[in-house]
Amino acid sequence: MQKFNIEKQAIAGTLESSDLQIIIDKNDGKGIEIELKSSVENQYGRRIREVLRSTLANLGVDDAKLTVVDKGALDCTIIARTIAVVHRAADATKKIDWEGLESWNV
């Protein structure tokens, strides 16, 4: 299974409509904490948190603090931004393990 360690703070995404911006930080030993501000909190807040958590789980990230601003991003955008920010935080952008990603990303 893939395993990413959050080494440093990283950011991915924009504040444009249909996008979301994620700032990820170390959170050693304290699990996953998500602070979410969404333009569609009532209707999709629960779903957004679900997608964030499951993507982090698939990437083998156990501890991380996420600050997320969402402007109506679809699930695929949430997943893409999460993968991107984790790679940046884990300094893994130079050598990407596509097989690893594909193993869970159907």
Binding site: T14, C76, T77, N105
Partner: protein, 289 residues
């Protein structure tokens, strides 16, 4: 072919509704260096998930030494239909990329050869090598002209108001190479979104030269390009008449066929068939009508 920058999450979703025949997600020139990695993941996930219907999906990758290898691996796995190479100079450029594509197909179990390619020619070396580039790979479905970089290398600039003579030779080389090999020839983008008249004139000209289509950068340009490439009612009627004349002659067993005092020979028949095929593709003609 409509250009869509890969960094724009909103555009990735909506691109297919505008009636373009293909959408080209750009990972290259429209994306800043800082955002190459995030944009790649964005398009990767989008193409995996979103249903683009009948629209062909294309991605313009970076040069192989500038992130293109990861671009290929991502997009082959995502299911992209065509990979477009930027700044193709030689046949070897095509082969080098094809090797990476094949490796990715093998690794992820995608049918070898199912990922097609397009080569964008954007400089004098590429223009002069157009034929060998066009012949280089069975995956190549078309070649395109990228005029902005080309004119810069040629130490000139674009003059759309002067009928773009500065790119005439490049256009000619590309359309000849494409026809010699039997693949598509695509013309360069027209950057002034508000100038519909010049866009129409330019599109009519490249159609006259024999190009198959044109790249666009804004949905508003699509109806104009489509209307130039869609056969007119008169052209369609003429083509139907020609086909009827052929059928009549065959029924009568006569060897030479004439319509309205003009002899109809093979090239004319081929053009008529092409007109009807284009018309059918544009949805303005149904066989049997």
């Amino acid at each position: 072919m409509m250009f869509v920058p890969a960094s724009n999450a909103g555009m990735l979703r909506d691109a297919y509704i505008y009636g373009a025949d293909s959408i080209m997600f750009d990972l290259e020139d429209s994306i800043s260096l800082k955002e190459k990695d995030t944009s790649r993941f964005l398009v990767y996930q989008a193409v995996k998930t979103i249903d683009y219907g009948n629209t062909e999906t294309v991605v313009r990758i970076n040069g192989l030494d500038m992130g293109g290898v990861d671009d290929v691996h991502a997009m082959v796995r995502a299911g992209i239909q065509v990979i477009r190479l930027p700044k193709t100079e030689t046949a070897q450029d095509v082969l080098d990329t094809e090797a990476v594509i094949e490796e990715a197909e093998r690794q992820c179990g995608r049918e070898i050869g199912s990922t097609k390619m397009m080569a964008a020619i954007e400089g004098p070396v590429g223009v002069l090598n157009a034929l060998s580039i066009a012949k280089s790979s069975k995956r190549l479905i078309g070649i395109a002209l990228g005029a902005e970089d080309y004119v810069t290398s040629m130490k000139t600039k674009r003059y759309p108001e002067r009928n773009s003579d500065e790119i005439f030779f490049a256009r000619s080389m590309i359309v000849h190479a494409a026809r010699a090999v039997g693949i598509a020839a695509l013309d360069t983008v027209f950057s002034d979104v508000n100038d519909s008249d010049t866009l129409r004139k330019e599109t009519e000209f490249i159609r006259q030269l024999g190009f198959d289509g044109k790249s666009v950068i804004n949905p508003r340009q699509i109806p104009i390009v489509n209307s130039v490439f869609t056969p007119t009612e008169k052209e369609i009627k003429n083509a139907i008449d020609i086909m009827h004349a052929i059928e009549d002659a065959e029924a009568k067993g006569s060897g030479v066929i004439a319509l309205n005092g003009k002899m109809i020979d093979k090239p004319i028949v081929e053009r008529a068939l092409r007109t009807l095929a284009l018309a059918e593709a544009a949805g303005v003609y149904k066989k049997g009508e």
